[in-house]
């Protein structure tokens, strides 16, 4: 189902992931979060931006386990645990945060 972001219509796949990663802009995360009735805080954005940097460098969305470890290293041990990440993204940090960041579904996520 396509989403409307700042007057533009962006295609998504059947699970709501952006069809074209290059069409991403911060407004995409805002629109998706609104649909999930979630208010995006700076803490959410830390993770979204982290995912975008990770994708830029490695060309894949990280598995949750890898995301958790890498966040802990980059943003501090208090944030590198699944309790903190699930607190931010209740539908799953891998799936939900990757979707907001415009990334494909993490490899190995079912």
């Amino acid at each position: 189902m396509p989403i409307e972001v700042n007057g533009k219509t962006l295609e998504t796949d059947e699970e709501g992931y952006l069809a074209n990663i290059n069409e991403w802009e911060p407004g995409v995360a805002d629109v998706m979060a609104k649909e999930d009735e979630l208010d995006l805080t700076d803490e959410h954005w830390d993770i979204i931006n982290f995912l975008r940097e990770y994708y830029e460098e490695y060309q894949i969305a990280p598995a949750v386990r890898v995301l958790t470890k890498a966040v802990g290293k980059k943003l501090g041990k208090d944030k590198g645990n699944s309790k903190y990440l699930y607190g931010l993204f209740p539908y799953g940090p891998g799936k939900q945060a990757c979707r907001y960041a415009g990334l494909p579904k993490p490899t190995g996520c079912v």
Partner: protein
């Protein structure tokens, strides 16, 4: 549950002409969730998978070379490269990417898990593995 097996992924195909290299990479990424001791070995045209500097901007293909560099984060401990295969292709260690590995609990670090081995050593490594997946 604690039965950790040695998995070896054998890669013998060039990266883009066929789907083998990408499929192997995906299986390694997915398989990383199972906590086995995972190593990769590159021989024959498979050594081309690790050559740095790929640019697919004019090919309409996804450049998955950068993905190899995150394999350490996925728990891959060793990436062996057959020396004779490199030599036959005019390549040396300097042409290859480096892949770091770190244990986040113990903070043990390895700067580069890519290691060039002789063919008889490669044979021994595969013989010592419990499972060899061939791509």
């Amino acid at each position: 549950m604690s039965d950790i097996k040695k998995f070896m992924y054998l890669n013998r195909r060039a990266p883009y002409g066929t789907i083998y290299a990408w499929e192997s990479l995906e299986v390694v990424l997915i398989g990383a969730a199972f906590d086995q001791e995972v190593s990769l070995i590159f021989a024959d045209d498979g050594v081309f998978q690790l050559v740095k500097g790929s640019d697919t901007s004019e090919s309409d293909m996804k450049n998955f070379m950068p993905t190899y560099r995150t394999l350490g984060d996925y728990g891959v401990r060793h990436m062996y490269v057959d020396r004779a295969s490199l030599a036959a292709r005019g390549l040396s260690e300097d042409d290859l990417i480096e892949v770091a590995w770190e244990d986040y609990e113990t903070e043990e670090e390895v700067d580069n898990i890519v290691e060039i081995v002789d063919t008889d050593q490669a044979a021994k490594l595969m013989a010592e593995s419990e499972v060899v997946f061939s791509f």
